[in-house]
């Protein structure tokens, strides 16, 4: 089930950069405190470094996604589309999110039974960046709000096209809350305060990237789970056999 899409007011780059800086504090603090704890506990360098490597790598991936989203939002440009396997994109994104999910104790599920072998028109880099940005918000929030945290990356057919998104048991985000979150991004400390402690920049960025693909971020539901998703047009040119 899909809800009407959102639109946000224009936002100054400085406000957005401020929000990105706020989001970047968290992985850096995690690194600093883990190093300190490692010293206190006399942990081996290998143990500590392996943890830190994961945090740093995930933060860098996220910053790349944020850069893309902010640039697209600033320049209002469109991304080139190509036929892609939505199953493959979701699988690759799940692989990228896996280390962060493990660190937070969140289980990742992939469900593309409703859209297996479907090709969609999208930009591969953009779509992965959008999903990664959304995924990071979902992982941090679900870990906080759920006793058995699980998020699902899913794709399924709808009358309008192939719907795809990220879902969880605790992501009961209304269309109004999503619209407000995007409007308040960069302005409010916690634009999605009932779901996340962070700046919701991942949602704002995902929305920008999707708009550059002529798609829009919407609230949606998948098998009794709430979430955020998008509808992508199927490719008519090729069909996987």
């Amino acid at each position: 089930m899909l809800q009407p899409s959102i639109s946000g007011d224009e936002l100054s780059i400085s406000a957005l950069v401020g929000s990105v800086a706020e989001d970047l504090k968290l992985p850096l603090m995690q690194i600093a405190r883990k190093v300190e704890l490692g010293y206190l506990e006399g942990k081996s360098a290998e143990e500590t470094l392996s943890d830190l490597d994961g945090i740093a790598s995930d933060a860098l991936k996220l910053m790349d996604s944020y850069s893309l989203g902010l640039e697209l939002g600033e320049r209002q440009q469109l991304l080139e589309l190509e036929p892609l396997s939505i199953q493959a994109v979701l699988y690759d994104t799940a692989q990228e999110m896996d280390s962060m999910a493990k660190r937070y104790g969140v289980e990742l599920e992939l469900n593309t039974t409703g859209a297996r072998h479907q090709l969609i028109m999208a930009n591969k880099t953009g779509l992965r960046a959008a999903l990664l940005s959304l995924g990071s918000v979902f992982i941090e929030s679900t870990a906080t709000t759920s006793p058995r945290p699980t998020i699902t990356l899913a794709a399924y057919k709808t009358a309008q096209g192939i719907a795809s998104g990220i879902y969880s048991q605790t992501a009961d985000i209304s269309p109004g809350a999503l619209a407000l979150a995007c409007r308040l991004s960069g302005r409010a400390r916690q634009p999605l305060s009932n779901y996340s402690t962070g700046s919701a920049m991942g949602i704002y960025v995902a929305n920008n990237i999707l708009q550059a693909m002529s798609a829009k971020l919407r609230t949606s539901r998948f098998r009794h789970q709430g979430g955020l998703g998008m509808v992508l047009l199927p490719s008519r040119q090729l069909q996987l056999v």
Binding site: K34, L37, L40
Partner: protein, 149 residues
């Protein structure tokens, strides 16, 4: 053994803070949100609360108002350990007078050692007349006096 109720929404930081405070000799219960914190305070009877203000749902200030509304909890010291910079509360009597925060640490710039020292300082009433050397050098631990309250 003194008991700490740690209200920290980020799972990774929560694990680190909890491990560090247990090493420092405290019994620690960690929760992620305001509602859980009220329930835990009732079950766990903490000697001190360490609180992040940016929570999901009800924020830390709302939690503190509710916390202080219970007669049994009015004198339990609360240290804020938050992502929000204390300058945002510099001229506000709310934190220091109404909900009686004992101290404030700015999380991005405060180490595990500083948190332990701050807790020790607040809990040890006899030591309160002299601030530990480690705290004197650190600009990130604030008390009501720093803001004229």
């Amino acid at each position: 053994m003194k008991r700490i109720l740690l209200v920290e929404p980020d799972k990774i930081l929560a694990q680190v803070y909890k491990a560090s405070l247990k090493r420092a000799g405290y019994e620690v219960t960690q929760v992620s949100g305001a509602q859980e914190a009220i329930i835990s305070a009732n079950d766990f009877h903490p000697d001190i609360v360490v609180l992040e203000l940016k929570l999901v749902g009800h924020n830390g200030v709302e939690f503190l108002y509710e916390f202080r509304s219970y007669p049994d909890w009015q004198e339990i010291p609360v240290i804020i350990n938050s992502l929000i910079h204390p300058r945002e509360f510099a001229s506000s009597a709310i934190l220091w007078r109404e909900i009686k925060v004992a101290g404030y640490l700015y999380k991005p710039q405060s180490s595990l050692k500083q948190l332990s020292s701050a807790i020790r300082f607040i809990l040890d009433k006899e030591a309160q007349s002299s601030v530990p050397a480690s705290l004197k050098r650190i600009e990130n631990f604030y008390t009501a006096r720093d803001f004229g309250f």
